[in-house]
Amino acid sequence: MPVNPELQGRVFPPAPPYLVGREKVREFSRAVFATSSINLDPEAARAAGHADVVAPPTFAVVLQEATLAQLLAEPDAGIDFSRVVHGDQRFSYSRPIVAGDELTATLTVASVKSLGGHAMVTAESRIVDSAGAHVVTATSTLVVRGDE
């Protein structure tokens, strides 16, 4: 089944709220070889003016993952996960993610394009805080390979 072009513009229900834990930020920081004390040490983060440790720039992928799972599980999407290759990724921040944030991610399928037998699906996960203010938008382009 090819990727359903009618996915374009579809907005999914918000994913369940995600509470950013200090130890999760530290674990993720170590996994991406972060050495900044602002990622790892609450005292250093506070001294720099943050409420708690600051997440690395790519941390939002943890929240985005849950929204992409919604997309792949959509019955009429026609996206075969075994044929998906991650093409592009972008994070655009209004403010950094800090431990203690409660964040909610909402996925919109920005575009579905055909390119030489493949489909390119651009998925935008808009992530807001508990007050509804924008924190970061994570945008992924997924390349879904066509039949060989």
Binding site: A31, I38, A55, P57, Q89
Partner: protein, 142 residues
Amino acid sequence: MTPAPALDTLSVGDVVAGGSYPLTRDSLVRYAGASGDFNPIHYRDDVAVSVGLPGVLAHGMLTMGLGVQPVVDWAGDPARIVDYQVRFTRPVPVDPSDGAVVTVVAKVGAIDADAGIARIDLTVTFNGQTVLGKAQARVSLV
């Protein structure tokens, strides 16, 4: 707060940061756990080979995640990275015994003095070949 590098001291083309990251299979398992990405092509050779890959690959998001770290250290605060994008152009196979070394060079790509933002362009390589395209971090230096 660590002072930010002054925008007016930068010129397009300046190399501002870089680093070398030896990845092992342990690094991939650690990233899988931290990120929640448990795709077995990142830890099982048999699965990787069965889908036509040379062997276990590093997560693209791990390469993206470590690629920006020299810029974070240069900027002095991870909060100064306001936008970061990459294109995944080549995989990074991680040998079970020898691992893989990923190298990052960060250069000033553009300066927006009005917005107080420097665009830092990353060259991320493995085995002498770039593995990320259009890898750009926008850093707020106001």
